[in-house]
Amino acid sequence: MAELLGTFEQSVLLSIFGLRGEAYGRAILNHVQKLLQRDVSAGAVYATLERLEARGLVSSRLAEGSPARGGRARRYYTVAGEGERALSETQRALTSIWKDVQLPIQEGL
């Protein structure tokens, strides 16, 4: 079984899914903040994107930039097949771990 994804990695991957073809750095940053309901630093998001791309879980392409960004290019991300598999495995593992747990946690579990 592949290594399970951390919460932040899951949020970034799910944001890329949720943004449907419009997933570039700024949009992902805002979407992750919405998902986690807290402020997130750009450094953390870009470091995660770099790590996910190095692991082959996402792929990216460059596109032209708008005047608001001084003409600087945008990098759009898509979740690769490997990324979808990793998300499914993580979801399965988490569901299985939590299956028999009732909150508040009872003693002797």
Binding site: Y24, G25, R26, L29, N30, S41, A42, G43, A44, Y46, A47, E50, L62, G65, S66, A68, R69, G70, R72, A73, R74, R75
Partner: protein, 198 residues
């Protein structure tokens, strides 16, 4: 030259450009500028938008340190420690004014400048030319640190703070020498990727 009011602080943007590897530079700077102009500035106003931008720039520092490998991280930590201790030493010398304090305070300031230069040269990727001066700085730190260490060990009255600072100076110098001659795989990887994608 006055900076246009609708742009993020130019100095912070320059630091960000220096912190980022070639592959990510344009993309990340563009993303943050877009967020600043279109969301932060209208919603929060100039001062709070600038604070947000500076906070985002700072969030790339840990990533930069990781990229330099474990040696880079240790050097960064020791540089900040030595910078703080030499500044403290200079201030104490100026306050206490024992005999010969001018020379000792000047030396402490000199060491602090070397530490600050080390941090800036590494952080702002000033290149090989600037790094050459760090070799000289490292030799100065090891020389003076070693001299202070031996002098203190032989003295009748052992000074704990001289012991700590002389050790920090020698350690900093040794780390500087090691990192200057040490390859940085993270950076080379980034440069290779930049060559492939551009």
């Amino acid at each position: 030259m006055k900076m246009p009011a609708h742009e993020p602080p130019r100095w912070a943007e320059r630091i960000l450009e220096r912190l980022l590897p070639a592959r990510a530079r344009q993309v990340v700077v563009g993303d943050l500028r877009e967020e600043y102009v279109e969301a932060m500035l209208p919603r929060r106003g100039k001062l709070r938008a600038d604070m947000w931008y500076i906070q985002q720039v700072a969030s790339f520092v840990p990533q930069f340190n990781q990229e330099r490998g474990p040696m880079g991280m240790i050097l960064s930590f020791v540089s900040w420690f030595t910078l703080a201790s030499t500044c403290w030493l200079a201030v104490m010398e100026m306050l206490l004014r024992h005999a010969g304090y001018e020379l000792r305070a000047s030396m402490a300031c000199g060491f602090a400048i070397i530490c600050l230069a080390t941090i800036l040269v590494r952080m702002l990727r000033m290149g090989k030319r600037a790094e050459r001066w760090l070799w000289v700085g490292a030799a100065v730190l090891i020389g003076f640190g070693g001299e202070a260490f031996v002098h203190n060990a032989r003295a009748d009255h052992f000074e704990g703070f001289v012991f700590v600072i002389s050790l920090a100076l020698m350690l900093q110098g040794a780390l500087m020498l090691m990192t200057l001659g040490w390859p940085t795989p993270g950076n080379e990887r980034w440069l290779r990727q930049a060559g492939q994608s551009q």
